[in-house]
């Protein structure tokens, strides 16, 4: 009777959880409803976790003596893992968000891999089909775990340079083949109980070692600029692994949630790659950056024309319209708050101000939107590339802060450039362009920016936050009355 009740309870709660996940993600598709969306999904998660303790009424005979200990372990693991991660998620700075997502994603992949390991070591798969699925989930989960950790290390600066060896792709392919071969051997050997070269647990260890190595080897050669795409891929991988392990455990909530994330992650990856004008395979298999460094630049006409922060600030105060193009350099100097203070000052003087955000501004698509939102900028002042690109031509001033490649006109004109074809913000069409930059260095792609040499462009050198403070002082110093 208790078993029946626990089955009904888990079934009903998991059904509700699956619905709440879908509904929650649906609500996340608009900034207005998004906060309630994550809350709805959170309720689904909470009830599903609570209901999963009903499994205690239906454990196998072999595990029954361990049940009190296992229950205790489960509570400790939940409190410990959940508590530490919650604390980390609350503390982390918004600029460090991509690597945090990478860590949490790796944890999910690791959990899926660990579930598969329990099934494998316990020899619990009921047949060859289930065994194949378990191994597949284990492979994808383990790759996601080790790959995400490398992605974290790269974004956090622990690993600075892409590690590239000649013939690496071939070697990685061989490791993948080896992993699959070990998996096939495990399936065949457990089917006909033939004499083993090594004990079965040993083969399982080898399988996981190969899968973990594969994740590391795959991620090492990829440059830091491409990490967001990689994290998105691993996010989809983890979803896939969770969905597959859900099948192995016969749990439809895991199957649905995992597969929804698998598909959503794949689409998100494609969207990101598209915004960078590259294909997903291009991100994974080619060494971006090398091309740019060996490519010879064409002759640049004109010269750099530096100007003082105060002069640039005053020019903007007397303009009718300003479009601001923020980049990661702004986030590095933590200048978002000062920027919004400056914007409010301009708005008080009747200047129309808009933000133009490139799809890949920041270290992760959409991260710049989050950073601006953190500073208090209302999201209806923030415009995406396709919505604002036509307006630069009729705008008095374009202010570029900490952005570089996303406003490089070479993407439109120079066919030999590494970023040719990438959609850019047409900041160069504005009547006057100010570029706030720390020095004369190149952008992430390592390409000289022709815009900086254009007749209508002036450079303001300095740390973004320091420059903005000077601009604010200069505009305040004018003592102009605010326009009501």
């Amino acid at each position: 009777m208790l078993i029946l009740i626990s089955h009904i309870g888990i079934g009903a709660v998991d059904l509700a959880a699956a619905f709440l996940f879908l509904y929650g993600l649906h609500r996340m598709s608009s900034p207005v409803t998004a906060p309630s969306g994550i809350f709805v999904a959170g309720i689904g998660m909470a009830v599903a976790v609570l209901a999963s303790f009903l499994y205690a009424f239906d454990v196998g005979a072999a595990a029954r003596p361990n049940l009190p200990v296992n229950l205790g372990l489960a509570v400790v693991a939940l409190a410990l893992g959940g508590g530490v991660a919650w604390w980390g998620g609350r503390k982390v700075a918004m600029t460090a968000m991509p690597q945090m997502v990478a860590i949490y994603n790796g944890m999910g992949g690791g959990a899926a891999g660990a579930i598969a390991a329990v099934e494998l070591f316990g020899n619990k798969a009921p047949g060859a089909g289930a065994l194949v699925m378990t191994l597949l989930g284990a492979l994808i989960g383990a790759v996601s775990l080790s790959g995400s950790l490398i992605a974290w290390a790269k974004l956090d600066g622990v690993i600075n340079k892409p590690v590239r060896v000649k013939g690496q792709q071939v070697f990685n392919g061989l490791v993948l083949l080896l992993t699959v071969a070990v998996g096939v051997y495990i399936v065949v050997a457990s089917a006909d109980k033939a004499a083993l070269l090594l004990t079965m647990p040993m083969w399982i260890y080898i399988f996981f070692a190969c899968a973990l190595a594969l994740g590391i080897l795959m991620t090492l050669p990829i440059g830091g600029a491409d990490m967001p795409v990689v994290i998105s891929i691993f996010n989809a991988f983890t979803g896939l692994a969770v969905g597959i392990e859900g099948y192995v455990l016969q749990n439809p909530a895991l199957m649905i949630a995992g597969m929804v994330v698998g598909a959503a992650g794949m689409l998100l990856t494609l969207l990101m790659a598209k915004a960078m004008n590259r294909s997903v395979s291009n991100v994974i298999f080619t060494n971006f950056g090398d091309v740019a460094s060996t490519h010879k630049q064409g002759k640049i006409k004109g010269e750099l024309k530096p100007t003082q922060p105060g002069d640039a600030g005053i020019a903007m105060r007397y303009a009718a319209s300003v479009i601001i193009v923020p980049g990661y350099g702004l986030a590095v100097s933590q200048g978002q708050g000062k920027l919004y203070e400056f914007v409010k000052l301009l708005q008080a003087g009747g200047v129309s101000v808009k933000f133009a955000v490139h799809p890949v501004a920041g270290r992760m698509p959409g991260q710049m939107d989050v950073l601006l939102a953190e500073a208090g900028v209302p999201y209806d002042m923030i415009f995406q590339l396709e919505d604002i690109n036509d307006q630069f031509a009729t705008t008095d001033v374009a202010l570029i802060i900490g952005a570089n490649d996303v406003v490089n006109p070479a993407a439109r004109t120079d066919k030999s450039s590494a970023i040719y074809g990438m959609p850019i913000l047409n900041a160069d069409y504005a009547k006057q362009v100010f570029v706030v930059k720390r020095g004369e260095g190149k952008g992430y792609a390592g390409i000289v920016n022709q815009l900086f040499y254009a007749d209508n462009c002036n450079m303001v050198y300095g740390d973004a936050q320091a420059v903005l403070i000077k601009m604010i002082e200069a505009v305040r110093g004018l003592g102009l009355p605010a326009v009501a």
Partner: protein, 120 residues
């Protein structure tokens, strides 16, 4: 009537297909401004793996299974709790000009009016 769920073969494929389609359609409508919160939000959703971890741990019969099961729950719980904390924090920051969160925004209605709210 048996309430023990049994999913095999084509039933599993149907579930996977419909779930994948749902995920694809839902994400396809999300504006670029929400891409980072969304990646984090979908990251949270696969934290449901913790439920599978609890199942595996409760059914562990050897010390080895207990240790691995413990890590499954530990990592899964981290995925779920961390994903929620980060996503919730990010989404709470999105505000409209109508409701600026204590950052002022009054006395300049002329400019604010000229900025139309985007429709996606």
């Amino acid at each position: 009537m048996d309430f023990q769920i049994s999913i095999s073969g084509f039933v599993a494929l149907y579930i996977f297909m419909l779930a994948a389609f749902a995920g694809w359609v839902i994400i396809g409508r999300v504006p670029a401004i929400l891409h980072t919160p969304l990646m984090s939000g979908s990251n949270f959703v696969h934290g449901i793996v913790v439920v599978g971890g609890i199942y595996a741990l409760l059914n562990a019969s050897t010390v080895q299974e207990q240790v691995i099961g413990f890590f499954a729950v530990l990592l899964g719980a981290g995925n779920a709790a961390g994903g929620y904390a980060v996503t919730d924090r990010m989404l709470a920051m999105f505000k409209t000009s109508g409701h600026p969160a204590g950052h002022g925004g009054h006395g300049k209605t002329g400019t604010v009016k000229s900025i139309h709210v985007k429709k996606h």
